[in-house]
C-alpha cells in the first residue's frame, strides 16, 4: 500500500500545526463558531449529539496493522475505548474533546493518517472496492488511481468551499462493490483498445433525493483524468445551487440542467483546463502503482480442513475467492447479533491488526458495509485466523445475510437524526438470530438510516428502513428493491410507516412472502423485482 514520501508527511504535519493554531484561536475567542465550523469540518471534527465527533480518514479503506493499532490507541487514550467504522470506509470516534484534537491528529500523523476533508463542503475520502488487489475480476487495482485523486483533492484551493460535500468512488470491475453509481462522481476503470482509462459517472447520490449517476464520459484516458475531474468540479463550483442546502449537491444540478448540458459544459471547461498542464505525468501513476504491487505470495494451494462445522459455515459465508491460487479474501463481520453495527472495541481492533500482520501481508480494508476485510489470507491459515476472530467475537458468519445490517449511528449519536437506528438493527438481528434461518433467506441487504440524509444508505437496501419523526415519536418507513451493486436501483416506500416493533414485524412478514414466492435461487430482491410490491403489501398491511 502507499507509503508517504517527505512531501506527503510534510503536508499532514503542516495540517496538524495549522489546525492546532485554528483551535487555539477558537478557544481564545478570535473566531466565532460560525467561522470555525467549516475549518473544523475540513479536519473531520463535528459537534455531535453528545460531544465532538472525529472522523478519521482511511483512504480508499486501506490500512496496515500499525495504523490499525493507532486507531485502537486513540480509542483508548482519547475516547471511550471503541470506534465506529462508517459507510465511507472511515472510522469515527464519538467522545472527543476539542482540546485533545490537535494531539490526536499529531499522533495519527506519525503513522501516515489524518482527518483531512472527511467533512465539509469539499472533496471527501475517495472510496474504492474493498477487494482491490485481490479480486479476480478487476481490470487493474483501482487504488493507485484513488491515491492520485486523494492527492489532487487534498487542500485543493478552488474546491474547498463547494455548494456541498463531494464524494468520489473508484472501482475497476463490472461488479460494483463500492456503490459507485450512487456517488457524486463514480469512476469505473476499463480498458479500451488496450489503454487504461475511466468511465465517468457524475450526479449520483442518496440523501433526500436519491439519484443514480448518469454516464458523462464513456472513456477518459489516465493522463487526462485530473484535468477532466477539475473541469467537472469547476462547473459544479460555479453553477451548483447555493440557495438551499437540500438542493446543493451536483446531482441536483445535473438533474436540473440535464446530463447533456452538463457534459457539454464539462467538455468546454476540460478543453481549457487541459492547456494548463495540471495532469501529472504517467510516471506519477506508475510511482504510486509500485506501492500496490501484489504481495510476495508463497503459499501452496491447500484447501482448509472443514472438520469444524462452525468454521465451515464461516468459510462458506464470509470467505471469498482470491485471484491468487492458494489465497482467499476474509470478511470480518462487525455485525454480531444484538451488537452495534460497525462498532469495534480497541481490543478487537488490536486483534484484527495482529491477524492482518501475521496472516494478510499486513493489510486490512474497511468496507462501505461497515465490515473489515483481510485481503490476502493463505488458505492454509484460514482456520487459525477464524479461531483468532472467534475468540474476539468477530467471527459471525453473516456476510450479506439479513443480520449484516448497514446502520447509521442514528438518534443515539447523531444530532441530525429523527429516529434511532441501532435498536432497530438489534431487534431485527435478534429476531433472525437463528443462522439456519438466515442462510435460508440468503443474500438480503438491509440498510437503516435514522434520517433522510441516508448515511445508512437505506435507498440502496434490498430492504431499506428510514427513521422519521412523526409528531415527536419515532416512526419507520420501509422501502424495498434498492441496490448499490451493479444492478443499482433506488428502493421504493411500500406504504405507511411503523413503530419500532411494527417495522421488525413487517420485515419478518416480507421474508415470509419471499420464501413463499421465490423461484430457483432468487434472492429477496430478485423475487421482489419479479412479483412486485402487491404480495408484500398485502401480507404486511392486510
Amino acid at each position: 500500500m502507499y507509503k508517504y514520501d517527505n512531501y506527503d508527511q510534510a503536508m499532514v504535519d503542516a495540517r496538524v500545526a495549522e489546525f492546532r493554531d485554528q483551535i487555539t484561536r477558537r478557544i481564545a475567542g478570535d473566531m466565532t463558531e460560525d467561522q470555525f465550523k467549516p475549518l473544523r469540518l475540513m479536519n473531520g471534527l463535528y459537534l455531535q449529539l453528545h460531544a465532538y465527533m472525529l472522523r478519521v480518514a482511511i483512504p480508499y479503506g486501506t490500512l496496515d496493522s500499525r495504523q490499525m493499532r493507532m486507531l485502537a490507541h486513540i480509542a483508548r487514550k482519547y475516547d471511550r475505548d471503541y470506534g465506529h467504522f462508517t459507510t465511507r470506509q472511515n472510522i469515527q470516534y464519538n467522545w472527543i474533546k476539542l482540546e485533545d484534537c490537535a494531539d490526536i491528529l499529531e499522533e495519527l500523523a506519525t503513522v501516515e493518517m489524518h482527518a483531512i476533508q472527511t467533512s465539509g463542503n469539499c472533496i471527501r475520502n475517495i472510496s474504492s472496492d474493498q477487494y482491490a488487489g485481490a479480486a479476480a475480476d478487476e481490470v487493474t487495482d483501482p487504488r493507485p488511481w484513488a491515491e492520485l485523486l486523494r492527492q489532487w483533492s487534498t487542500f485543493h484551493p478552488e474546491f474547498s468551499y463547494l455548494p456541498r460535500k463531494f464524494k468520489i468512488a473508484v472501482i475497476a470491475s463490472s461488479e460494483d462493490r463500492a456503490a459507485m453509481r450512487l456517488h457524486d462522481i463514480g469512476l469505473e476503470l476499463i480498458r479500451q483498445d488496450g489503454e487504461l482509462g475511466a468511465r465517468v459517472f457524475v450526479g449520483g447520490g442518496m440523501g433526500r433525493t436519491p439519484m443514480i449517476a448518469p454516464e458523462i464520459n464513456p472513456f477518459v484516458k489516465a493522463d487526462d483524468l485530473l484535468s477532466y475531474l477539475e473541469a467537472c468540479l469547476r462547473v459544479y463550483n460555479r453553477y451548483g445551487r447555493r440557495d438551499n442546502i437540500y438542493k446543493a449537491r451536483i446531482k441536483i444540478l445535473i438533474h436540473e440542467i440535464g446530463a447533456d448540458a452538463y457534459r457539454r459544459q464539462v467538455a468546454e471547461e476540460f478543453a481549457h483546463v487541459k492547456t494548463l498542464g495540471i495532469d501529472p505525468p504517467l510516471a506519477e501513476l506508475e510511482r504510486i502503482s509500485a506501492f500496490f504491487a501484489p504481495p510476495a505470495y508463497d503459499a501452496a494451494n491447500v484447501e482448509p480442513d472443514r472438520n469444524d462445522p462452525d468454521f465451515a459455515l464461516w468459510l462458506d459465508q464470509n470467505v471469498k475467492p482470491h485471484k491468487q491460487a492458494g489465497y482467499a479474501i476474509v470478511n470480518i463481520s462487525l455485525k454480531p447479533i444484538g451488537g452495534i453495527p460497525g462498532d469495534a472495541t480497541s481490543a478487537q481492533i488490536d486483534v484484527m491488526a495482529d491477524l492482518a500482520e501475521k496472516y494478510s501481508f499486513d493489510e486490512l480494508r474497511v468496507t462501505h458495509a461497515q465490515n473489515i476485510v483481510l485481503p490476502y489470507v493463505a488458505k492454509r491459515d484460514l482456520y487459525t485466523v477464524w479461531q483468532g476472530l472467534r475468540d474476539a467475537e468477530l467471527a459471525d458468519a453473516n456476510l450479506d445475510l439479513i443480520s449484516d445490517i448497514i446502520a447509521c449511528p442514528g438518534l443515539d449519536y447523531c444530532s441530525l437524526a429523527n429516529a434511532r437506528s441501532i435498536p432497530v438493527a438489534q431487534k431485527i438481528a435478534t429476531r433472525f438470530a437463528d443462522m439456519d434461518r438466515q442462510r435460508d433467506l440468503g443474500e438480503l441487504k438491509l440498510k437503516i438510516s435514522g434520517c433522510i440524509n441516508a448515511c445508512g444508505h437505506h435507498h440502496a437496501g434490498h430492504i431499506g428502513i428510514l427513521g422519521v419523526d412523526k409528531k415527536g415519536v419515532e416512526n419507520y418507513q420501509l422501502t424495498f428493491g434498492g441496490s448499490g451493486a451493479e444492478d443499482v436501483s433506488i428502493g421504493k416506500i411500500i406504504g405507511p410507516g411503523f413503530d419500532e416493533d411494527g417495522v421488525v414485524d413487517a420485515v419478518e412478514k416480507a421474508t415470509e412472502v419471499y420464501k413463499a414466492l421465490r423461484e430457483g435461487d432468487e434472492r429477496f430482491v430478485d423475487t421482489y423485482r419479479r412479483v412486485g410490491l402487491e404480495p408484500f403489501k398485502e401480507a404486511i398491511y392486510g
Binding site: 510534510a10 492527492q151 484551493p157 478552488e158
Partner: protein, 140 residues
C-alpha cells in the same frame, strides 16, 4: 479597506464598476464581480483592467475562487482583490487561486494572516500561483 496587498505596483484609484456597467462603458479600469457574474465576460478586456474585485458576501460561497483562477488562466496580470467576508483562514487558498489583495469587511490580525500563509511549503496540485506541485517536484 485593502488590508493585505501582495503587489508592488501602485494601488488603483478608480472605483470599481459592476460587470454590467463595465460591459456598457468601455473606459473603466476597475470592475467588481458578484458571485453569480461570469468572470469569462471580462476576458476580451483584461489588458485594460488594473483591478478586478471579486465579492465574497459570505465566506462559504466559494464561487470567487473559480472566478479568480479563470481570470489568471486567461492571462490577467492586474490586481485581483477578494472583498467582503474574507477571513484569515481563507487567504491561503485565495492566494493560490490568484488573489493578490484583500479587502476584508472585518479587520484581520496581521500576525494570524502571516502564520496562516506560512503553514504549507508545498502543494499537491497546480493552481494560479507559482508553487510547483509536488508531483512535479517528484518527477522534474
Amino acid at each position: 479597506m485593502v488590508e493585505f496587498r501582495y503587489r508592488t505596483d501602485e494601488v488603483t484609484e478608480q472605483p470599481s464598476v459592476t460587470l454590467d456597467a463595465f460591459l456598457d462603458q468601455s473606459n473603466a479600469t476597475a470592475v467588481r464581480l458578484e458571485p453569480d457574474d461570469d468572470a469569462r465576460a471580462l476576458i476580451p478586456f483584461l489588458d485594460r483592467l488594473t483591478l478586478i474585485e471579486v465579492a465574497f458576501p459570505k465566506f462559504r460561497d466559494g464561487r470567487g475562487y473559480s472566478a479568480a483562477r479563470i481570470l489568471r488562466e486567461a492571462g490577467y496580470q492586474g490586481e485581483l482583490r477578494a472583498q467582503g467576508d474574507v477571513l484569515v483562514d481563507q487567504i491561503a487558498y485565495m492566494r493560490r487561486c490568484g488573489f493578490d489583495s484583500f479587502a476584508p469587511e472585518a479587520s484581520l490580525n496581521p500576525d494570524a494572516v502571516a502564520r496562516a500563509l506560512a503553514h504549507y511549503d508545498h502543494a499537491y496540485q497546480g493552481a494560479a500561483d507559482s508553487v510547483v506541485p509536488i508531483w512535479k517536484l517528484r518527477h522534474g
